[in-house]
């Protein structure tokens, strides 16, 4: 219709007609749910369709709004009034619902007229109401407790429902709005007179809250309400008072103490309520002050003796509950009727006071120094006070039960001896125990006795002068009364001395100590492991005669606490033969003792060989142990299978002599290794090296891996004589020759621990060297230093736990700058002189840890005087100490380095350096031997053997090797070495060139000795050197393998040809009757080749062929390495073989040096 109209009209009135129409003009609605405010001339018209007209849309566009006019119809009271017209205009340019009047409207009801942009007008009566801003006429309260909730009532005016209520600007939802007017509909809306809101003071940051109704320009004036705290008490002074004082002022410090219009908080003491005065106040409101200090006067007669609770409560209407209670103690008054003795000795500060009013709260001072110990007796009518070393002269004794509750007396203090220190605080009741004391001021010969604390029955002690001024050693006899004792010193006349509660005698032992081994050899230092059936706490260990005798128990100094139930002690070599008992006394007074421990004068048992070294995993296996010192022996086995699971297979001894023990064992193991222990009937024992147990079809065991700390390629890999450790020496890493040495300790079955760097390095970096372990020395021969082959030989000794310094005593003395109380651990090590045959210029292993219990001397501290045995070839001694009291073992660090002539040290808290002592497995200093090879040799074959006729001479053979790029040697050099006492070895002045030469010059090859009984296929009494394949002159493989017999004087017999091997043998092992070669050269390989020494039944040898001949080499697929590699180090210890380092091929073909160590049973 509209379109038709438009088209027709347009056609008729062409070019000159315009018409504006609106579909919404003047059609509006108002939703004034909340009356407007006379202070706010803006208002909204909700839902209104008062759309503006767009004008000049294609030019400078603008909007034309409908015009709004308000006509006042009634006043606030609802009365009809004279009409007032107000003009409204839109607010802003983005909404059509906000309008503002040109001036604040008078209160009342208004009609609204709207004239649209095309000129039409519409009017709505009673459209809007404006009221004055609301007012708060009154509040139900001016305070509110911060804790808990309460309701606040507001008396208001001009408040229409819908307006907001806020506290500190946060809108509140009223609990109720009441007292509202109900005018007739269409008249002015009703208002309400009372609002209730809930208050919650938790978390309110301010101490005042602002309450308002309405918001913005239409908000009331704010009214304030104060949050009131609950009082809290932080201190009450004094907290104890004396009955003797009639009135006592008490001061209470805290927070939240309120003074309200002059009213102050009340204090409740027990059941008595008292008024207070306040101070340290700040004003919260004109009527309310918050204070931090209260004072009140206490009538002591109103309270009962003892403790009473004290609470604070604020005055009403600010009472928001009582404070948490504190306690005030009312003490009785104190009197002294007599004091004995009337004169006090400085070394015996014990006074007996008779009187009244003594209690547990009673304090005593002498010249201002508090008593160290107080004891009540005789129904609290006697007080015994003990003072530490009072100063000689007139003294003032003060006794009090609190402020104003004191009395005093005069005491004369006489000079006399003192007991400064007692080194043993706990003794076992049945032991005869040596106790050392340090005294001062002693003249003549003193006598000592023990008196139970508080008792009179004295036990005399045997005293002998000790080491140091004023020192005495006392023998405490067995005491039946297990209690705490005072130690008394008497000089016969004049003053004596007393150490109060110095010695605690504990009851009989209640735990069992199990020593392993169960016996020891007299004259030898023996390490004994002690397992306890009860927990030990910093124990002191004694070795007591069994049965008891007049000799005192020996206090063992070298005690290592392994766990809280396991100790390791080292018995000094001075322990005489006889029967003994171990006793461990803990600091908590508990004790444990062992059954009889025998020390015998016989020779120590020694196992020199185990045959066979590889046993079949089956029942009834016969094993023979060779050695000496066997006495009615029994044999036990300790085994671990391939997974390391321990077991103890049953054994039965078939025959035994002093040098040979044959036993059968049921070796039902899934492969693994065992160690045999020979246990003599006198308790002494010895354990063999491990031997392999293999299943019938099994040969090399499964591979287990560990890793070096850094890659080593072509290292020298050696184990110690007794197979405690594995060493990886030199080699090279990424083309750099190494002078570093890594080592790992081996467990009883050969599993290596973590590899660590030895503290001392080779004198010269070298790779492709060869080496041998002769006795306690590691020899490293030849090699290449990165620029040229080497002709030098280095050696180092494996530090022997037997060659350690021995601490003898640790004496204590008071010292103001000394050590704090607690257990301190000491070790001493010897630095040997350059002339020492074993470890020249090197530091030995330290002594066993020596724990020293330092007593608590109050303000005093303690100096420790250590003494140790003099060592003949010592150049220096190094003293190590734990860095803190009660630290775990093995945290000792260097505190002093002393010249050889000094065998004692006073430690008054010396500063410690971070240098630790040598660890087990450490090597002595590396030394380059003055003897040199006749030519430099890189990659030589090195082996050693004893002279067939002279067990005191060994020969170090160095065969082949490369002297230059195109010079490969076929010569063999021999170094005679004299074997001396104590493991000393003296090399000859020069190498001797052997008349026997290699059949074919070669380098990078393996050389090993072999002899009976381990290589049983060789003729008895002969030793052979096996010299295997290597690299030849032209760089290709020299497959020649040969063996030469070691002849008297070190000469070698004519080489016997062996089965050739087409690989280099640098990584090889000859064990019993089998040779294995690991890996390849120059291409990395996982292959393991093997051949057997020919003998009866050896496969591939023929019936008439005997060792030294080898069976043909084979490379079984069942025996491979985990990692294909070259230039590895290979070694054996017990039942384990180790393949160490070398290089493997990266995917690019590049050879990369490796840290991987494979080990497995053989």
């Amino acid at each position: 219709m509209r379109w038709t109209h438009w088209v027709v009209t347009s056609m008729v009135i062409s070019g000159c007609s315009r018409e504006l129409t609106s579909s919404t003009a003047a059609a509006f609605t108002t939703t004034p749910t909340i009356p407007g405010c006379t202070q706010d001339p803006t208002f909204s018209l909700g839902g209104a369709a008062l759309f503006p007209l767009v004008v000049n849309a294609l030019g400078d566009a603008g909007l034309e709004f409908p015009s709004l006019t308000l006509q006042r119809e009634r006043d606030e009271a609802g009365n009809v009034t004279e009409p007032i017209e107000l003009i409204a205009h839109p607010v802003g340019s983005t909404t059509n619902q906000q309008f503002a009047l040109d001036e604040p409207p008078p209160a009342g009801r208004y009609g609204l007229s709207v004239t649209s942009t095309e000129g039409r007008t519409a009017r709505q009566p009673a459209a809007l109401t404006f009221l004055p801003p609301p007012e708060i006429l009154g509040l139900s309260q001016s305070f509110a407790c911060r804790q808990g909730t309460s309701n606040l009532k507001l008396q208001v005016a001009h408040f229409a429902p819908g307006r907001s209520v806020s506290i500190n600007g946060q809108p509140q939802f009223p609990q109720s709005i009441v007292a509202c007017t109900s005018p007739p509909p269409g008249v002015v809306p009703g208002t309400c007179a009372e609002i209730t809101v809930a208050l919650n003071g938790q978390g309110q940051p301010s101490s005042l809250m602002r309450v308002q109704v309405g918001d913005g320009a239409c908000a009331s004036q704010p009214r304030t309400v104060a949050w009131l705290p609950t009082p809290s008490v932080s201190a009450i002074t004094p907290d104890s008072v004396c009955r003797g004082s009639a009135t006592q002022e008490i001061v209470i410090k805290g927070e939240g103490f309120l003074s309200v219009d002059g009213a102050t908080p009340s204090v409740e003491v027990g059941h008595v309520t008292l008024a207070t005065t306040v101070s340290d106040c700040v004003e919260l409101t004109p009527l309310v002050r918050e204070c931090q200090t209260l004072r009140f006067q206490l009538q002591t007669s109103a309270l009962a003796e003892g403790s009473s609770w004290v609470t604070v409560r604020n005055p009403t209407p600010a009472d928001c509950g009582a404070s948490l209670p504190v306690y005030l103690t009312l003490n009785p008054s104190v009197t002294i009727t007599s004091v004995t003795p009337t004169a006090l000795c400085t070394g015996d500060g014990q006074l007996t006071l008779n009187g009244s009013g003594f209690s547990a709260a009673t304090r005593a001072q002498l010249n201002g120094v508090p008593a160290r110990h107080l004891a009540l007796s005789n129904g609290n009518s006697t007080l015994t006070a003990t003072f530490d070393h009072p100063v000689p002269g007139p003294g003032r004794l003060e006794v009090d039960n609190g402020p104003g509750c004191n009395t005093s007396s005069t005491i004369n203090v006489l000079a006399g001896p003192t007991i400064e220190l007692v080194d043993t605080q706990i003794v076992e009741a049945t032991l005869r125990t040596r106790v050392s004391v340090v005294t001062t001021g002693v003249t003549g010969t003193p006598s000592f006795s023990l008196v139970p604390v508080g008792g009179t029955s004295a036990t005399a002690l045997i005293a002998t002068p000790g080491v140091g001024p004023g020192a005495f050693d006392l023998i405490v006899p067995p005491l039946s009364n297990a209690t705490s004792y005072d130690l008394l010193l008497s000089t016969g006349s004049g003053c004596g001395a007393r150490a109060h509660g110095a010695v605690l005698v504990t009851g009989q032992s209640s735990g069992l100590l199990v020593p392993t081994p169960a016996g020891a050899i007299a004259g030898a230092r023996t390490t004994v492991s002690l397992e306890s059936t009860r927990l030990l706490q910093r124990p002191r260990v004694y070795l007591a005669p069994n049965p008891p005798s007049t000799a005192a128990a020996l206090s063992l100094g070298a005690v290592t606490v392994l766990t809280n139930a396991r100790l390791r002690v080292t018995l000094p070599s001075t322990i005489p033969a006889g029967n003994w008992t171990f006793m461990a006394v803990s600091t908590d007074g508990s004790t444990s003792s062992s059954p009889t421990f025998r020390v015998v004068s016989d020779a120590a048992p020694v196992i020199s060989a185990v045959t066979p070294r590889t046993a079949l995993a089956s029942n009834g296996q016969r094993i023979t142990l060779m050695g000496h010192g066997f006495r009615q022996p029994n044999v036990t086995l300790a085994c671990a299978n391939q997974a390391g699971v321990p077991s103890s297979p049953p054994t039965s001894v078939e025959s035994a002599s002093s040098t040979l023990v044959t036993f059968r064992a049921d070796l039902v193991l899934d492969g693994g290794a065992c160690r045999a222990t020979v246990l003599n009937d006198d308790g002494t024992s010895v354990t063999s090296e491990s031997f392999e147990v293999h299943a019938p079809a099994q040969e090399l065991g499964p591979v287990r891996n560990t890793a070096l700390a850094a890659p080593h390629r072509s290292p020298v890999t050696l184990t110690t004589e007794h197979e405690e450790a594995l060493y990886v020496i030199g080699g090279h890493s990424f083309l750099s020759p190494l002078d570093t040495v890594e080592s790992a300790m081996l467990d009883p079955f050969g599993a290596p621990g973590p590899f660590t760097l030895q503290p001392l390095r080779l004198q010269q970096a070298r790779t492709r060297a060869a080496g041998a372990t002769i006795g306690r020395f590691l020899y490293v021969v030849g090699g290449h230093d990165g620029s040229a082959p080497l002709d030098t030989v280095e050696r180092a000794s494996v530090l022997d736990p037997e060659d350690r310094a021995e601490l003898e005593s640790a004496r204590l003395a008071p010292h103001s700058g000394g050590l704090d109380a607690g257990t301190w651990t000491y070790r001493v090590s010897v630095v040997r002189a350059p002339s020492d045959p074993i470890n020249p210029d090197g530091e030995d292993l330290p002594s066993d840890p020596w724990p020293v219990d330092v007593p608590d001397l109050g303000p005093q501290r303690t100096a420790v005087t250590l003494s140790w045995k003099s060592e003949p070839t010592a150049a220096k001694y190094r003293v190590y100490r734990s860095q803190a009291p009660n630290a775990v073992t093995d945290t000792e660090a260097l505190i002093a380095e002393l010249p050889a002539g000094q065998t004692s040290l006073v430690d008054a808290n010396r500063p410690s350096l971070t240098v630790p002592p040598r660890r087990p497995g450490a090597l002595g200093a590396w030394q380059v031997l003055p003897t040199r090879l006749s030519v430099p040799r890189e990659g030589p074959g090195v082996a050693w053997a004893l002279d067939p006729l002279d067990a005191t001479t060994a020969y170090l053979y160095v065969a082949g090797g490369r002297s230059g790029p195109n010079t490969v040697q076929d010569s063999i050099e021999v170094l005679p070495i004299s074997l001396g006492a104590g493991g000393a070895q003296t090399p000859a002045a020069a190498f001797v060139t052997s008349a026997t030469r290699l059949t074919e010059a070669r380098w990078m090859f393996g050389a090993s000795p072999a002899s009976q009984p381990t290589s049983s296929n060789l003729p008895a009494g002969t030793t052979w050197l096996y010299l295997l394949s290597g690299l030849g002159t032209g760089g290709g493989v020299s497959s020649v393998c040969e063996a030469s017999e070691v002849l008297p004087g070190g000469a070698l017999g004519a080489p016997a040809p062996l089965s050739p091997l087409g690989r280099t043998s640098v990584g090889h092992l000859l064990i019993d009757n089998r040779v294995r070669v690991f890996g390849g050269t120059p291409v990395p390989s996982t292959l393991i080749s093997r051949a057997d020494l020919c003998g009866p039944g050896t496969s591939g040898c023929g019936a008439m062929v005997q060792a030294p001949s080898l069976s043909p080499w084979s490379t079984p697929a069942s025996e491979v390495m985990g990692l294909a590699r070259v230039e590895t180090g290979v070694a054996r210890a017990g039942a384990q073989v180790y393949v160490v380092g070398g290089a493997f091929a990266a995917p690019t073909g590049t050879l990369l040096d490796t840290t991987v160590v494979e080990y497995r049973t053989w």
Partner: protein, 194 residues
């Protein structure tokens, strides 16, 4: 514009001297877009036209025609709740004269046209918050000229056509204000010739 009209008139007179060679009637329908070119905020809109023509004798180079054209460009003004869209509905009855540069029986036939349009205008102001329709409307009628370049491709009984036309228009309303609303329209379609 006057020069173009003169050229068309001269061409028509010369055409009158020739006999007619093709069908005289044409009815065609075209759709496309009208693109304001005066930069006053109007946005392009769809456009459609329906044409009825009659070819004059003498090779039918001249054609008189009547046409109905529709377009509705819009402009948006304001912000917030007062953001409004003003749409200018333009319904334009038209008369004009076409000169075919190549006579129609040819397969490809270019032409030029000119004439007069009567613009029946209706400006409608609508608001997003207003449901069901517009807030204000304002009607007006204006005269304007036009000039067309066109081309036809003979296919079947008629031809496909493509035209570019300049439509001259000046509006003068309360809603739009006084403004130049000239557009260029591009239309394409098909015409039957009989």
């Amino acid at each position: 514009m006057p020069r173009a009209a003169l050229l068309i008139a001269l061409c028509s007179l010369s055409a009158l001297a020739e006999p007619r060679t093709g069908a005289p009637f044409e009815i065609s329908s075209r759709v496309g877009a009208a693109i304001p070119i005066t930069g006053n905020g109007l946005q392009a809109s769809a456009s459609t036209a329906l044409k009825l023509g009659y070819g004059l004798p003498f090779e039918s180079r001249l054609q008189v025609f009547a046409e109905l054209l529709y377009a509705a460009p819009a402009v948006t003004v304001g912000e917030g709740a007062l953001r409004s869209t003003v749409t200018l509905h333009d319904f334009a009855p038209t008369v004009g004269l076409t000169f075919f540069l190549i006579p129609p029986p040819s397969r490809l036939t270019p032409w030029i046209s000119a004439g007069l349009r009567m613009h029946l205008l209706r400006a409608v102001q609508s608001l997003p918050g207003l449901s069901g329709g517009s807030a204000y409307e304002e009607a007006d009628t204006r005269m304007g000229g036009f000039f067309t370049l066109g081309c036809g491709l003979r296919v079947g009984p008629g031809r496909f056509v493509l035209e570019v036309t300049m439509n001259e228009l000046t509006v003068r309303q309360r809603i739009t204000g006084e403004a130049n609303a000239t557009t260029v329209s591009v239309l394409g379609g098909y015409g039957f010739v009989f």
